[in-house]
Symmetry: C2
Subunit: 124 residues, 2 copies
Amino acid sequence: MENNSCIRQQADIKQINRCKDTVSELSESFDHLANGLSLVGNSVRLKILYLIFEEKRLCVCDLSDILGMNISAISQHLRKMKDRNLLKTEREAQTIFYSLTTEYSTLLNPFFEILDGNKILATT
Amino acid sequence: MENNSCIRQQADIKQINRCKDTVSELSESFDHLANGLSLVGNSVRLKILYLIFEEKRLCVCDLSDILGMNISAISQHLRKMKDRNLLKTEREAQTIFYSLTTEYSTLLNPFFEILDGNKILATT
DNA sequence: TTCTTATTTAAGCAAACACTTAAATACGTA
DNA sequence: TACGTATTTAAGTGTTTGCTTAAATAAGAA
């Protein structure tokens, strides 16, 4: 695994050490953020999140119809996002509605705005 | 693949159709954005991007030292990000420096700010 | 030209991922 | 209770990902 023999002639040792400190300091932050973003970095899940953002709440069945995908496949995507706290659920009789958690709707808002912008462009 | 038999008793047909329209309208935007985010949603690549953001530019060798990873592994991450236009390169003798493209540094700035915030918390 | 340094690329492999099918769970109604 | 609707979960499978090792490319120095 290790091959730290690559010490450039003019490598800036201070810079390297500063960076190493940053990485170890923020190690958990990197993992946590990357973890969340890896979920959003899938077009099916991004669609689901955006649709829920627009419609406030949707159930598996709705999403299955909208995306033309197997209910089971959608359910498994929803579960992942619920497990990592991007989504929360509320039951209403047999139907389970998914909505965004406040924590993540803030984080994801910039992306939804980008998509909203494209929507306007596409319509005109 | 299809199993669109799930038509809820009280499904909102108008809502479903509105959502279908949105999805087909923004189809490419979803793919493009998800594609970009899937790259950032990896802790090694997120670290690389943040370090380059902080230090303005870094080479494979630096990153290999900082992250304690194989040069080849880092190189392959960098290539992916260059291919999808998150990073650009400039050669200086034998050394190739990677830096953020303006297009993506804007998009990624919110995340870097989150990480900066955590850094302050971790330091105090 | 040959050697060293810096980096990329190709091939291989184990782990993670996304989807399918089928079975299980949960709630409501007859 | 038994049945229908809404949803989740488990198991299986093909594809993608991230890393390893080894070979290839590129530029400068001897």
